[in-house]
């Protein structure tokens, strides 16, 4: 329990301080784009659009919305939402090859919402909310029901200004099978003040975004402090979009990239409504070996930040400055590698923390869910909070839960388990596990596959059933000391999760979803069964009817006795022929 408190404390102890230069009372919009070359040679582009509404939706009735989307504002007021986090993801962030993500999201759709303590029936609000969001984002969020909703006790904490700790106000659900496409992107873009007409959002062309290895879009709404003493509260809408371009397949093995090559257009202007519009390019690594690559157009603005315990250098382009654009009024940031090519990249170094998950065993009766958690930190141990949500049709055997590190049993310091109820709610398993330095921890639990009712199978039952990714929340001690005061301006890099102090940083990782086959009947079987049953019934009934209606006559050898006389007497009374 102590560990849970520790994570919890780390999460919300540091209340978000939205420092901003603008005077309070006027809504603010900022747009940022971060381009990060990844270890594998791919490139990640992270867009972040932040809209701030300087009015408290909880207390006053807001009727005038300037740049904050009205549809979301009304939603917050109507359902008394404290915080809302929604993400749609296609593909999987490969931590091992790409390094730690700025903000990871599970494959498919994820929604988690904190309600205000004024809400009486949380389940009802949750159900209605997911249906409305389903309509807003053209997604199948309406499939969120009690069978895939859980209430985690320790893994998810409010990220904004909050004074609630009662986890009964939290609802969490994932839909691992949700497929993300343009119909989800368009409504997401419409929430932006400039739409996709101007600014960085004009780069978001669907045909390029979906021609990538990974695509994730998210919406985060939370209350933040308007000023330093937190006397009044603003609402922040953060729309983030991460896309990873596979430079190997599109660039024929060359690692050179440019904005035009990635998005098939260049930046021509910033959004006029934006108070801040910037492009950052991660140029770390060039420090050690000089002039590995060349950035074009060159920029003089550079910024050093510590992200995920690692000191990084970012080149900065300010789109609000006219000088940033070329003579033809566009900006096409390009990076050219000099000399050495991708060949020299070698094996990517493994990140400090990552996890993978798989199902083991064969056959359709039972199996084991295994999660391998890697702590590659050279000398520090740290705890990880693991959240597993398993659908009811996999019956977990909790007594088989084993956690082993380096061949020895590892006892979790906190376990919260809620068993599933058939057709009603999923299994929920939360554990706080201490990871020794430089170790692999294997968590395995056996399950049995249930046989569904034949109407419960989806149209493609042999595809298998998805198990949502497990969530790992971890506070990683950083290798280098970071100074907190640098973080205030560079909002993009610090992401949503505040860091408690300089010595560690918070990260939430998701494992891959699992695909499990359930025993599937042959669906032409009902027909066979009907044929067979009819035959059996016909034959059986016929014979029994025959036996029951036939008059049996016992050949009388000795001439009967008292019993027969009595029987005949009764038969005569009944009017049937005597024996």
């Amino acid at each position: 329990m102590a560990g849970a408190v520790l994570v919890a404390a780390a999460l919300w102890a540091s209340v978000w301080a939205g420092q901003c230069a603008e005077p309070p009372g006027s809504d603010v919009f900022r747009e940022e784009l971060l381009l990060t070359p990844l270890r594998s040679g791919d490139i990640a582009a992270t867009f972040q659009f932040r809209t701030r509404l300087d009015a408290d939706l909880r207390k006053e009735k807001v009727s005038h919305y300037r740049i904050f989307p009205k549809v979301l504002g009304q939603l917050i007021s109507k359902y008394s939402i404290q915080e809302l986090h929604l993400s749609f993801t296609q593909g999987f962030w490969r931590t091992k090859a790409w390094g730690p993500p700025l903000l990871q999201a599970p494959t498919g759709a994820e929604l988690w919402v904190w309600f205000q303590d004024s809400v009486t029936d949380v389940n009802k609000s949750w159900k209605e909310l997911s249906n409305i969001l389903s309509g807003i984002f053209c997604a199948s969020l309406n499939f969120i029901d009690s069978t895939n909703t859980v209430t985690p006790t320790a893994s998810f904490k409010p990220l904004g200004v909050a004074n609630i700790t009662d986890h009964h106000l939290l609802r969490y659900a994932t839909l691992p099978r949700e497929i993300v496409c343009t119909e989800n992107l368009t409504p997401w873009k419409k929430l932006l003040p400039c739409g996709s007409k101007a600014g960085l959002a004009s780069l978001l062309r669907a045909e390029r975004l979906y021609h990538s290895s990974y695509h994730s879009q998210s919406v985060h709404i939370r209350p933040i402090c308007q000023n330093a003493d937190c006397s009044s509260v603003s609402w922040e809408l953060r729309q983030a979009l991460t896309v990873v371009f596979d430079m190997y397949s599109s660039g024929q093995g060359k690692r050179d990239w440019s904005i035009f090559k990635m998005f098939s257009r260049t930046v021509t202007e910033s959004c006029p409504l934006a108070s801040q519009s910037k492009i950052y390019v991660d140029v770390s690594g060039s420090g050690k070996e000089v002039d590995l690559f060349e950035l074009n157009p060159p920029t003089s603005l550079e910024r050093q930040v510590v992200v995920h315990g690692d000191r990084r250098v970012y080149a900065e382009y300010d789109l609000s400055q006219q000088g940033t654009f070329s003579t033809s009024r566009n900006l096409n940031v390009a990076l050219k590698w000099k000399g050495r090519t991708a060949e020299s990249a070698g094996q990517p170094q493994s990140p400090l923390f990552h996890a993978e998950r798989y199902v083991s065993g064969y056959g359709l009766q039972s199996g084991v869910i295994n999660t391998m958690v890697f702590n590659n930190h050279p000398y520090r141990a740290y705890p990880v909070m693991l959240l597993e949500t398993v659908p009811w049709y996999l019956r977990l055997y909790v007594h088989t839960l084993t956690i082993t590190t380096r061949g020895k049993e590892n006892k979790p310091s906190y376990i919260h388990y809620e068993p599933a109820k058939d057709r009603q709610r999923p299994h929920l398993l939360e554990m706080l596990i201490q990871l020794p330095p430089n170790s692999i921890t294997k968590i395995s639990i056996q399950f049995e596959r249930a046989l569904l009712k034949w109407t419960e199978y989806p149209p493609d039952p042999n595809h298998g059933f998805y198990i949502s990714p497990s969530v790992l929340s971890v506070l990683i001690p950083s290798v280098i000391n970071q100074k907190t005061d640098e973080l205030e301006e560079s909002t993009l890099f610090s992401t949503l999760f505040p860091s408690s102090d300089g010595s560690s940083y918070f990260m939430r990782l998701y494992t891959e979803p699992l695909l499990v086959n359930l025993p599937t009947p042959d669906f032409s079987m009902p027909y066979n069964v009907i044929c067979l049953t009819c035959t059996v019934v016909a034959v059986g009934y016929g014979s029994f009817y025959n036996l029951l209606t036939r008059t049996f006559q016992v050949e009388d050898r000795k001439g009967g006795g008292l019993a027969k006389t009595i029987a005949n007497l009764i038969r005569r009374l009944r009017g049937v022929p005597p024996l």
Binding site: S212, S213, Q347, N462
Partner: protein, 615 residues
């Protein structure tokens, strides 16, 4: 029931069963045999078709053109393999990483229960190397496997080259929805078993392997490729897997469809399809093809690396590139295009392959015999056993009935005691158990006392125990009193026949070929044996149909069918190898044939032997 409830009709029925028993049995045997022979006759077979909608047509524009690159990879691989003296792990890892794959390796060690003489190995150490191509559109929930065994000598170098060329080409494509695993497994089947057990994190056999780190979700289908020349004339398709399991027919059809699209010659069991299927030679040809398939399937041995996938419910086939003396040769590009087409079609799968048949026989590639059509053949054989046991049952009841009345002959034998029946059954099964356990357990003792190698010791001990089992009935009968009645042997035979019927019924559902081979030999003799009449003839017949003799005959027949006949002495050598091989298959891959024969078929046969020598 109406028939049975009427005593008169029941008597008539039992009269039919007893009096017409022999003709009925003969007719049944003939019908069963004719039915079986008819299976290969073209008008009776079904034309194969792809049932899976998502693989419906071959409408894929294959663009693979890096066949030359594959050959240069192959040469490089051959050089590195030679210098490394095994799988060139480091080179493979480097090359695959250079292609943009996620590369992992898995090392394994397997100590065989006794040395394998044919391949000369006892302790097998190796490393499997595999690279995963991560699909951009999915979260590693599903995957496909392309595997190539890294064999000794110059074998399969070209297959590895093609695998690398395909990996490089596939890496540049964006349409993958399933991860693709490119696997180079060392030591053929042992390496494959190690990899599969590692991937599924189970330990079925006693293989030891390193912890596997890279995974790619549930494997949907696998193709194993073997090719040892730069050009090929035809592709041979191998389907028979462990314990006679077969891949879904759709996978076979998919391959056949792409062969037709690329006008590639494809064979099955090394036999090309004939066009004159309506003539007698054409019929004989397809019968031959089907018989070879049945002999291979009946052996329960995986005929290619794909065979081990089937246990994990992964549909898999092996493709063997053949370079014979035909005029027209196909280069790497055509082969690569065929594989590309197949993988792109498999990539489209939304569900596991399940639409088509899992139980079938292939008289040729374009036609198949489904389970519904071939099962009656064995049904007729089992009918013989049932008819015979009905006959025995009625006879037993009749003698019971007369004995109870006490009117007829008082010198009728007393009913056999439970002890006199249970003893031979228990002894037969105990012999079966010792046949299973003793050979491997006592190999050390045998090598100490006799000048034989371990594997010879195992095989010879097995044969010795097998033969020693024949001597048992003479010994047991002396001890037991009151066992030598007519009722005694009839009851024992009744039990044996029913036992045999159940055994054959069960095994033919799992492995039709094995069931059929056993049934066609054992059933007629089992039906006629009895302790009266020409006992020497019965004993001879029983020896001729014992599972061991069936194995010998099958080897002989197989070599005849593949047109590579052997002399009797060679056949004996092969027979000894097959016994050792069968036992190794059981210990290495979990093949069920050896325990099935030792625990069930052989004891059942011994019971019949007991019947013949009943005194």
């Amino acid at each position: 029931m109406g028939l049975l409830s009427d005593p008169n009709r029941r008597q008539a029925l039992s009269r039919v069963v007893t009096q017409l028993n022999t003709p009925l049995c003969i007719i049944s045997y003939l019908v069963g045999t004719m039915w079986f022979l008819g299976l290969a006759f073209q008008p009776f077979t079904l034309r194969s078709y792809i049932s899976e909608n998502s693989m419906g047509s071959t409408m894929v524009e294959e663009q693979f053109v890096s066949g030359e690159r594959g050959l240069s990879y192959a040469r490089e691989f051959a050089a590195h393999k030679k210098s490394a003296g095994g799988s060139p792990v480091a080179w493979l890892e480097r090359t695959m990483r250079g292609l943009g794959l996620e590369v992992y390796s898995q090392s394994f060690v397997r100590t065989l229960p006794f040395p394998d003489e044919t391949t000369e190995r006892f302790m097998v150490k190796g490393t499997n190397v595999y690279g995963i191509l991560r699909a951009p559109r999915a979260a590693s929930t599903e995957s496909l496997v392309l595997s190539v065994p890294c064999s000794e000598g110059q074998n399969n170098n070209q297959a590895v080259g093609l695998l690398l060329a395909l990996a490089s080409y596939f890496r540049g494509q964006i349409y993958w929805a399933k991860d693709i695993i490119f696997l180079v497994n060392e030591h053929d089947l042992i390496g494959m078993e190690a990899w599969l057990e590692g991937y599924h994190d189970v330990n079925v056999t006693e293989i030891k392997s390193s912890v596997m780190l890279g995974r790619a979700g549930a494997i949907q289908a696998a193709v194993s490729l073997e090719m040892s020349s730069d050009v090929i004339t035809s592709f041979d398709l191998v389907v028979e897997g462990l314990n006679g399991q077969l891949p879904n027919l759709d996978l076979v059809n998919l391959f056949y469809a792409f062969c037709q699209k690329n006008t590639l010659l494809c064979t099955i069991q090394g036999k090309l399809q004939r066009t004159d299927f309506d003539t007698f030679p054409g019929y004989l040809h397809s019968l031959q093809t089907m018989l070879i398939m049945m002999l291979k399937q009946g052996s329960g041995r995986p005929q290619g690396d794909h065979g081990l996938f089937l246990r994990y419910h992964i549909e898999a086939i092996t493709l063997r590139g053949i370079n014979s003396f035909r005029q027209y040769k196909y280069d790497m590009n055509t082969v690569g295009k065929t594989l590309e087409g197949m993988f792109r079609k498999l990539n489209n799968l939304s569900e596991r392959l399940h639409q088509s048949y899992f139980f079938y026989l292939l008289p040729c590639l374009s036609r198949f015999v489904s389970i519904g059509i071939y099962m009656p053949a064995i049904g007729f054989f089992i009918l013989i056993l049932i008819l015979r046991s009905l006959d025995l049952w009625i006879k037993l009841r009749r003698s019971d009935g007369t004995a109870e009345d006490g009117v007829m002959d008082t010198e009728q034998d007393p009913r056999p005691g439970i002890l006199s029946l249970a003893t031979p059954i228990v002894i037969c099964h105990a012999t079966g158990l010792s046949l299973y356990y003793l050979p491997v357990m006592s190999q050390e003792m045998a090598t100490d006392h006799f000048p034989v190698s371990e594997s010879e010791a195992v095989v010879l001990t097995a044969i010795a125990i097998y033969v020693a089992g024949l001597a048992l009935p003479h010994n047991t009968h002396r001890v037991l009193s009151g066992a030598g009645s007519d009722q005694g042997w009839m009851t024992l035979k009744l039990i044996s026949l029913l036992y045999l019927a159940v055994l054959l019924g069960c095994i033919s559902l799992i492995n039709f070929s094995l069931g059929f081979l056993l049934a066609v030999t054992i059933v007629p003799v089992a039906a006629i044996v009895q302790p009266t009449g020409p006992r020497a003839l019965y004993a001879l017949l029983l020896v001729l149909i014992t599972p061991a003799t069936t194995l010998l005959g099958s080897i002989f027949l197989y070599r005849e069918l593949i047109e590579y006949p052997v002399s009797l002495l060679e056949c004996w050598q092969l027979f000894l190898q097959a016994i050792a091989g069968g036992m190794l298959d059981h210990y290495l891959y979990g093949s069920l044939l050896f325990p099935f024969i030792a625990f069930f078929v052989y004891p059942c046969w011994l019971q019949l032997w007991n019947v013949v020598f009943w005194k």
